[in-house]
Every structure is written in C-alpha cells, then in structure tokens.
C-alpha cells in the first residue's frame, strides 16, 4: 500500500514538473508539448477511434506472430535439446540468428513480402522465435537428470516423461525465454511499423511515424506513452501470473 503510494506520488511529481517547465516557456511548445496538450491529443484520438484501431491492428500482428513463434519455437527447442544432430544444425543456426537485431529483418521482409501483413508477421516471428527456441533448449538441458530417473521408476515413459517432467521442470527458463521473446517481438514490430507504411492496417508505429511527419509532438509523445503502457500491461497480464507461480513453487532461488 505504502509502495503504491510512493509510485503514484513519484509520477504525479514528474508530470507536475513537466507541466511547470512547459509553462515557463523555456522550450518551444512545438518541441515540448505540455502534459495537458498530450492528454488532449490522447482524448481526441480515443474519441475518434484512431487510437483503439491502431492498438488493435498492432496487437493483432503481435499476438499472431508471437503465438506462431511459441508454437514453432518451443517444440524446436525440445528437439535441439534432445537430438545431437538437430542441435548441431538448427541449434547453431538459431544461436547465430538470435544475435541479429530483429530490425535487421525488415529490409529482407519488405523485399520478400512487399508492404503487406506478411512482412509484419515475418519480422515479429524472426524477432521472437530464436530466443524462445534457445531458452527452451537451455531449460531442458539444465533439468537435473534425477527427475527423469525418479519419474521412470514410477512408470513414466518417453512422451509422458517429456510432458510431465522435462517440460515443467524447465519452466523457469521457458518463461524467461518467452518474456525475452515478447520483448523482441514488440521491439521489432514497432521498428517495422515506423519504417514501413502498409495499406492493410494502420498500427501504433504508423501513428508515431505520422506524428513526426505532421510535426505533431503531442501525438508522438502520446503514442509513446500508449506503447509503454501496453508493454507494462502485457507484462502484468501475460507474465506476472507465471512468475508468481514460479516464485511460489520454486522458492527464491529460481523464481
């Protein structure tokens, strides 16, 4: 309770300081809009639906791409951990591609897919797939062999062992890998949206981009705040429950 209060007061002071500095007219209001102007923009954008629409478009791309990355990356990570041959081929490739900053995929995606949803999706998947794969692989490798041995004596066999022992045992790694993957997907999608105009959907990145084109600093800052807020919410909604579960079950060391 006390900590929430500290957070609220801190941010109130921050915004108040911002407003005061704006009123002193040190900078041009075109470059540094006051918080009130930003709020006015946000209010307007919410009312006329542009913000909702852009958020929806962006989230749809992000969620589909991220979901695809998990569906593909998780099983592939299991395979690289299980089979030496897959480790030496796909595993090495994944390690290499993971070091590539995900915005680097944008030029390639544009040439391959043109200015389409496909390009957006491709960039998101390339951004998150490899880190999910590698985290799963790492997680499986760090599972103490004693778990599988104990499970086998209780009658657990192949697939049952994989799904009921190996996979849950590597959960701490998988969750942190998924979180990292989410971060990469989010960053690369924003990069792609700011960089590329496509006609099939107008996302948050585009709003940001047009804010610059129109010299509308209130829009730029407003959209940046929305992007930040979505990041925070995603963390709370998608990952907090898992992290709480890990903390409760595993205790302090790994949670």
């Amino acid at each position: 309770m006390k900590r929430t209060l500290v957070v609220v007061i801190f941010f109130l002071l921050l915004v108040a300081g911002w407003e005061i500095l704006c009123r002193k007219k040190i900078w041009s209001p075109v470059l540094v809009p006051s918080p009130i102007t930003v709020c006015e923009y946000l209010n307007g954008a919410i009312r006329d639906g542009t913000l909702w629409h852009a958020t929806l478009v962006t989230m749809k791309r992000l969620l589909i791409g991220y979901f695809l990355s998990i569906v593909v990356g998780l099983p592939l990570g299991l395979l690289t951990a299980r089979f030496k041959f897959v480790e030496d081929t796909l595993g090495v490739l994944a390690l290499g591609l993971q070091t590539l900053p995900s915005v680097c995929w944008i030029p390639l995606a544009l040439l391959w897919y043109g200015q389409t949803e496909g390009a957006m999706l491709f960039v998101v998947v390339m951004g998150s797939l490899w880190s999910i794969l590698i985290a799963t692989d790492n997680g499986v490798r760090t599972v103490p062999p004693i778990y599988a041995r104990a499970a086998r004596t209780m009658g657990s066999k192949r697939l049952h062992t994989w799904f009921k022992v190996i996979l849950p045992a590597s959960l701490p790694f998988i969750v942190s890998g998924m979180k990292q993957g989410w971060g990469f997907a989010w960053r690369s999608l924003m990069g792609a949206e700011i960089y590329v105009t496509i006609l099939t959907g107008f996302g948050l990145g585009h709003l940001l981009h047009y804010g610059r084109e129109l010299n509308a600093m209130d829009q730029v800052i407003g959209v940046m705040l929305v992007i930040m807020l979505i990041g925070l919410l995603a963390d709370k909604i998608l990952f907090s429950p898992w992290e709480k579960f890990l903390y409760r079950r595993w205790g302090t060391e790994q949670g």
Binding site: I146, A150, A151, G155, R249, W250, E253
Partner: protein, 270 residues
C-alpha cells in the same frame, strides 16, 4: 521356476542377483564397478548394502531398479528378469528428487496417476494415507522448497510407497540429513517396514545405520566391486541406533570393512 521347484512348492526369492558384472567406460580407464555379484533377497527382508565409496553398491541398486543394465549376469524379480524400471521396485534417492513444480500432494500423486484402475478420489485417499504415515498430513499443499531436508525425504518416502511397490530400493536416503532427523527417520522407516511388509534394499556407507536397520548387512569391497561378507543382525525391533547391543554388531562389521579396504584406496568409512 523349474518343475522340481514347482512340485516342492518352494517360494522363489523376491530378488535374485545372479553373477552381475558391470564396467564403466570413462575416457581414462575402464572401471570395474561390479564383479560377479550374486545376492538373494527374501520377501519382506530388510537388506543393507555397506561399503566405502566406489564399491559398486549404488550401481547394484540401480541395476536392480532397472535404471542401468549389467554387462554380465542378470537380476530376477519374482523370477522374472528385470527389463527396465517398474513400479514394483520403487527407488528413493539420496537427493529427494521431488518435483518443484508440484505441491506435496501432487508429488505423491505422480506415481499413482500412472497406476491404472484407480479413480481420482481413490488416488487422493491413497496419497493422503501415505502422507499421514510419514507424518506430513498437515503439509499436503506445501511447496517443496518450504520443507526442511527431513520433511523432503519423508515426502520422497511417501511418494515411493504410494504406488504400493513390493520392493523399496533406497540409495543413501538419509545421508544428507542432520543426525537428529536421521535418528527419527530410522524409527519411522522401521515402523513403516513392519506395517507395510516391504522388501527393502538399503544402500549406505554408515555401518551403524546398516546394523540398525538391516536384517542382514552385506559388505562390499571396491576395485572391483565384490561382496565380501554378510552379517545377520538378529536384534529385536524396533532398534535404537544408540543401543549397546547394536554397537557390538556395528563394531564387528566395521572391523571387517576395514580389513577389505585396500591400501591404495584407503579412506575411512563413517
């Protein structure tokens, strides 16, 4: 079983180890872990395997469990060759090996869920019975990391007992615990053994522990792993680890053990 045995109505041994040999190939050398080891264990017997580190006693236990396979010889359980691990022979390890993603009750349920023909509520009742047996009925929804070392081993014991195996294989299960907790568990394991009539093979390097728990103490020597001597401990139960009669037995076994320690690997056992 042969026709003669069938007619003579001889009950077969619960476990028969016939001339088992095992080598471990490492980069530096071939380690001869077990050399032609034979052992018979009757139904309901409590047998302790004792020896210094590296004498192959744990390897033998793993082979009996079906987790490893011998390079020579074979192991029969109820007259059938052991082809792999099975819930008739449950193992308790030195590390508790409890699953941290499950709570206490779900850990105990893990083996039960793999046992066919049990309904959901029946499994739960069985799990609760065994948790009560090890004195942890109040902790069924605790997380593994919240338990003390002794409690973790109790849960591991309940988990091993729950699918009702006839044979319990214990690999130094109390070695990592403090002395007080261990002494409590000596009492517990004896009363559970008496109550549930299990056949137990218990590996330890602690001679006193072996004399306290076993009907029979089997002495191993290393390089290569061999059975050297066997001692029958015919003290009344329940036994107290600190009793004078027990000290007499453990001294005798300990003296024998020291005789088999080869000079180049001399390392005093506990």
């Amino acid at each position: 079983m042969t026709v003669e045995q069938e007619i003579a109505n001889v009950t077969p041994e619960k476990l028969t180890v016939e001339g088992v040999s095992k080598w471990f190939k490492t980069r530096r050398a071939n380690v001869h872990a077990l050399d032609n080891v034979s052992l018979q264990v009757r139904e309901g017997e409590f047998v302790c395997l004792v020896g210094q580190s590296g004498c192959g006693k744990s390897t033998l236990l793993n082979i009996i469990a079906g987790l490893e396979f011998p390079d020579g010889g074979r192991v029969l359980a109820d007259g059938q060759p052991v082809a792999g691990p099975g819930r008739e022979r449950m193992v308790m390890f030195q590390e508790h090996a409890l699953f941290p993603w499950l709570d206490v009750l779900d850990n105990v349920l893990f083996g039960l869920k793999l046992k066919p023909n049990l309904k959901r509520h029946e499994r739960r009742e069985v799990a609760q019975y065994y948790l009560k047996l090890v004195g942890l009925e109040k902790f069924i929804h605790a997380n593994v990391h919240e338990l003390s070392g002794g409690m973790k081993q109790r849960v591991a014991l309940a988990r091993a007992l729950a699918p009702n195996p006839r044979v319990l294989l214990m690999d130094e299960p109390f070695a990592a615990l403090d002395a007080m907790t261990r002494e409590q568990l000596y009492g517990d394991i004896q009363s559970i053994w008496a109550k549930r009539r299990k056949t137990i093979i218990f590996v330890t390097h602690n001679v006193r522990e072996a004399a306290c728990l076993g009907d029979r103490v089997v002495l191993f020597s290393p390089n290569p792993g061999r059975i050297q001597e066997q001692f029958v401990v015919d003290l009344p139960r329940p036994r107290d680890i600190n009793s004078v009669e027990l000290a007499h037995f453990s001294t005798e076994i300990r003296e024998a053990l020291v005789r088999y320690i080869k000079p180049e690997t001399a390392e005093a056992p506990e």
